[in-house]
Subunit: 329 residues, 2 copies
Amino acid sequence: MSLGRGRAPAARSPGAGGGSREPGGVTRSGGALATGRASAGGGLLFIVATPIGNLGDVTYRAIETLRSVPLIAAEDTRLSRRLLARYEITTHLISYHAQSGPGRELELLAHLRSGQDLALVTDAGTPLVSDPGAQLAAAWAGEGGAVVPIPGASAVLAALVASGLPAARWTFEGFLPRSGRERRERLARIAADERACVIYEAPSRVPATLTDLATRAGPERRAAVCRELTKLHEEVVRGGLGELARRGAAGELTLRGEFAIVVAAVASGSAVDRGATAAAPTPATLAEARAEVARIVAEGTRRAEAVRRVAASTGLDRRALYRSSTADS
Amino acid sequence: MSLGRGRAPAARSPGAGGGSREPGGVTRSGGALATGRASAGGGLLFIVATPIGNLGDVTYRAIETLRSVPLIAAEDTRLSRRLLARYEITTHLISYHAQSGPGRELELLAHLRSGQDLALVTDAGTPLVSDPGAQLAAAWAGEGGAVVPIPGASAVLAALVASGLPAARWTFEGFLPRSGRERRERLARIAADERACVIYEAPSRVPATLTDLATRAGPERRAAVCRELTKLHEEVVRGGLGELARRGAAGELTLRGEFAIVVAAVASGSAVDRGATAAAPTPATLAEARAEVARIVAEGTRRAEAVRRVAASTGLDRRALYRSSTADS
């Protein structure tokens, strides 16, 4: 599965060196404006991916877009200035982040409503709606405005590629909770998932998380610890989770910089990884899962459906859970 | 959550215009070679993302890499030639895809073992190990060789961005099975998932899949149908799954080109979607979110952190939720 879909690159002028009014290659009369509401003819909101480390990891279209819009809203203007300086871009920068307050968002929406384009960038990588301040995209889309993605670097995909692990399908979990029931549930789900999983982790917590993953998914499960991707000290350590956890505990991993951990999918065609802890849930886990099934059934859901949901979220074997939970009633 | 992690772009020369021997910014003495095995000092295998449609969606470092390596292995040499011609790159191309046979893979491994670098590209987007022929990366990594990701465009991330939906965490499902138990199970899992989900779909099957998704996840669940992203006819139709399914069934959606469907996460802490939009939360949603914050705080998490998590998973405004939840206490 390629992560790009375009078999026929668009015939129109690409970003590099082109002089089109609308760098997104999107026309106002059609394209991204079709949002199910009539457009008021407002400006285009470009969501522009920026480098995750190496300043060369930015696209020609991103640079052309940043150069041609009248205004760039940046999560951290100091960081964005470095990128702009590197490419000799003099576009006006305005800060826009989680602490900006509602006034700034209204100001940017007014800019768009007046028909002027705007580019949005975060510190690094691809801005999403969950990024600080990026709810602007949801608001503008909600008004029927055009939101145009300018794709580029992403640490999640870089980690999947660097892992060398099969990844036809995958999940991105962000940072796991540091402790408690939600951490245990998410670890169990990752262990049982038939999709590869990408996790972010703080340096000091990498060894503990590798140990927890090895316990849940088994020592043989393949994984990769990616550090400082695309940067000077880029490093990828691959191996079984057991070996990686041992090396982490023994202080053999360099714990500096930014980390992404990639965990291989559970073996296809089974809900359990041979030899993994997921294959042998503790009674406590099963009891918790049964209680969850009972709760969902009490809310009016069919038992089979409740079992399926809980099995999916806990990684327990569905048939075993079904048998166990019907024995309850 | 930013999809890039790099707060401090590397100081070394970026790709654009640089003349380094190793365009990946990776040194042989360290960097990506740390794979738990001694490296034989082989060549670097660059996994290079290419455009998903618009030829401007390629990074400066990708172009520099493709220009400086002695050989490029391409899934479809005819398509890759267009990109190379656009950027006046004359590097030798060799075809490498699922039907290449084992001989070609051995040939490429021999090239790498001899100390020469190699760039791998697919038709479009970011090559992964599941792509046709890309198992080369796994084989080379398995020998302790260096696999260097050159990040760039991806249709999955472009779809998440274009959707305007909250996506702190997400899953990528590829194409769903066309029928049967596995399709039903995967639809059910998507409906119950607390992560946003990206699906690829063939044009003729978009209406049926929207209908199935609406049945499973409810008509109010937010979604986006993305067509021809980054291309001339780029189009994003957003709405509730019920409305999208109705429009699909009524022939109101243009069914040409390449599609990605993004389905919003189920509302956090509940198995049902209240149908709230991120821009205008209903009181019911806010009340639920407040209750979820209170629950997490009761478990010992700081309120700011609890608010951050719940805001990320529900799409509610973080400041509004914080104010609302402190008013509770």
